[in-house]
Subunit: 336 residues, 2 copies
């Protein structure tokens, strides 16, 4: 399969135009295009233009409202709710971010509950702007069942990512964003598309047997959680933190309620923000945490989460993004 | 090795008397004895009387102040700090719990930062009373380096447990409490004491090689994180949430500063509490989350975290606790 190279500006423009042509208004199209752009910029193709056909499909099916206007309200001193009113998550996040940051600075810790949004992006792109304001942030979301609880043989949990970010002053923030599954579903989809195998322990087929064929995992099979029962507990916790607190669908409910048009179901997200200056060590926390992070970064064989993303970012900003020609043609067709 | 059986009341009395004879005042002795009692009651011998020699050693060395009076203050609207003033964690936790609960009910989410405490217990015993008040709770703590970051060959992280609890009305709360290591160090110590092997992947020896001999892991070796780099990220996050926010020692600093008397180093702990009634679904969150939990509990092969603990509790409350006779003799000697 041959690739073509686009500049990041062209990626942004292509995504924006496809979304505008498919029913988004300017603000929603731009907000979604930002997240696609951020994923491609950091070399995460599984959350980049690869997702555009899904976005377009769920606009065309009428599942997602491309002109939704998010509503923000404060539920209690430290809890902000952003109601996406049936639109994609990025605009709701953009509009509620400053309220979350203000509440965290004011009270030390605050939570943002997203409801009635369609979430299809990588969490680190959402957490990074909060961490760049000097706050510690965590984010969690659910999806549709794809992961088997430890010991069981049927999917119940979404791939349920969690993201954690720690501010580092002038250095790029320390951010990890990891699925509760042994592998992100997007990576399994990429492997299937490219005809590659996946490691044993990644998932099971429809009969409950371990398989290295990504197609068999996606076709009626399921992913395994990372790290056995401990990773399974993380996936469970994320279901409760997201759907249990917000009142939005658990992954198993989202499956029943979704129209399976290829785009994301409606659901929730939880983001927490903490101001490290309000936890009792306001003068030294930055130097103190840097001593730990530098020690970790200096160990042979270890690496700091997010480092490779920032290294790729520097290259991609110069050299542009390689995407499969077939995907590029598919995207261009959405505009005609 | 022969065992003897003690009633839970006898466990509590034995622990209290040993601590009183070793320099604790009544309030500190009772608070620590409660956590030892709770561990034995739930069949978790690695955090029960087995830890008493360590508690006694660090009272006798003067590292821990057995008559410490904790101080509680509100650092910001949603952040409570409990300064243990060099005592064990249980009394500081007991005294600050209601402030955490009130702040969570008032603002929706709140944090409790423990500083200047010696922590030697299981987190679930600390989280359970908060969850029984109808709140969601999480807790994190560090220790001394015992776990190798993914890819490295030297320990940097403590076994760094995290605990999550979800309230279930009249049902026992759903609580998991898990180390970031592939196995809790207490379990490795028990295996070493009993001459058993541990699974491959549990840890490395002093030369960096995988070993199934728990003695070689404890003697200059190190534990591996659970779930590869994802579990390693959890251990890193816990270092930052605990030491980074509170200003207390990271695990690598605790090792340098501790006198290695067999008891716990001085350090911090972070507990978060959330009131599910303040997150936007005040009327339905309980029934909604029960529908998910019952679905998980009903799946063939799965089990709800904490269920086995509550089953053991029912048996042990009737039948008492079996402990090695040698340990019983060692404890009794502390009182003479």
């Amino acid at each position: 399969m041959s690739d073509i190279t686009l500049s990041l500006k062209e990626v942004h423009q292509l995504a924006t135009n496809c979304l505008l042509a498919s029913g988004c208004d300017e603000e929603n199209a731009t907000a979604v295009a930002e997240t696609i752009h951020a994923a491609e910029r950091d070399g995460c193709s599984s959350h980049g233009l690869f997702r555009l056909p899904g976005y377009v499909a769920s606009l065309k099916s009428g599942k997602v409202n491309g002109t939704a206007v998010p509503e923000i309200r404060r539920l209690s001193g430290s809890v902000i709710q952003a109601n996406g009113n049936g639109g994609y998550a990025p605009l709701a996040l953009q509009r509620s971010r400053s309220a979350l940051i203000d509440a965290a600075r004011g009270n030390g810790i605050a939570a943002l509950v997203l409801v009635n949004v369609h979430h299809f992006a990588a969490l680190w792109t959402e957490v990074e702007p909060v961490v760049k304001e000097g706050l510690v942030a965590m984010a969690f979301t659910t999806y549709k069942p794809a992961v088997v609880p430890a010991g069981a043989s049927e999917a119940l949990y979404g791939t349920n990512p969690m993201c954690f970010g720690w501010p580092r002053g002038d250095e790029p923030p320390l951010i990890f964003d990891q699925a509760s599954s042994s592998m992100a579903k997007g990576e399994v989809m990429i492997a299937a598309r490219e005809g590659q195998t996946v490691p044993s322990g990644t998932g099971i087929d429809a009969d409950g047997n371990d398989t290295t064929d990504p197609g068999r995992i996606l076709d009626g099979g399921a992913l395994l959680p990372f790290g056995g029962y401990k990773g399974s507990n993380m996936a469970m916790m994320i279901e409760l933190l997201v759907a249990g607190l917000s009142g939005q669908d658990f992954s198993f409910e989202a499956e029943k309620n979704d129209n399976n048009d290829g785009g994301p179901p409606v659901g929730g997200e939880l983001m927490l923000a903490m101001d490290p200056a309000r936890f009792g060590d306001s003068e030294h926390w930055q130097d103190h945490s840097e001593s730990f992070i530098n020690r970790l970064g200096g160990m042979d064989g270890s690496h700091l989460p997010g480092t490779r993303r920032h290294e790729r970012r520097e290259v991609i900003e110069l050299e542009g993004v390689k995407i499969p020609e077939t995907l590029h043609e598919q995207c261009r067709a959405f505009m005609s």
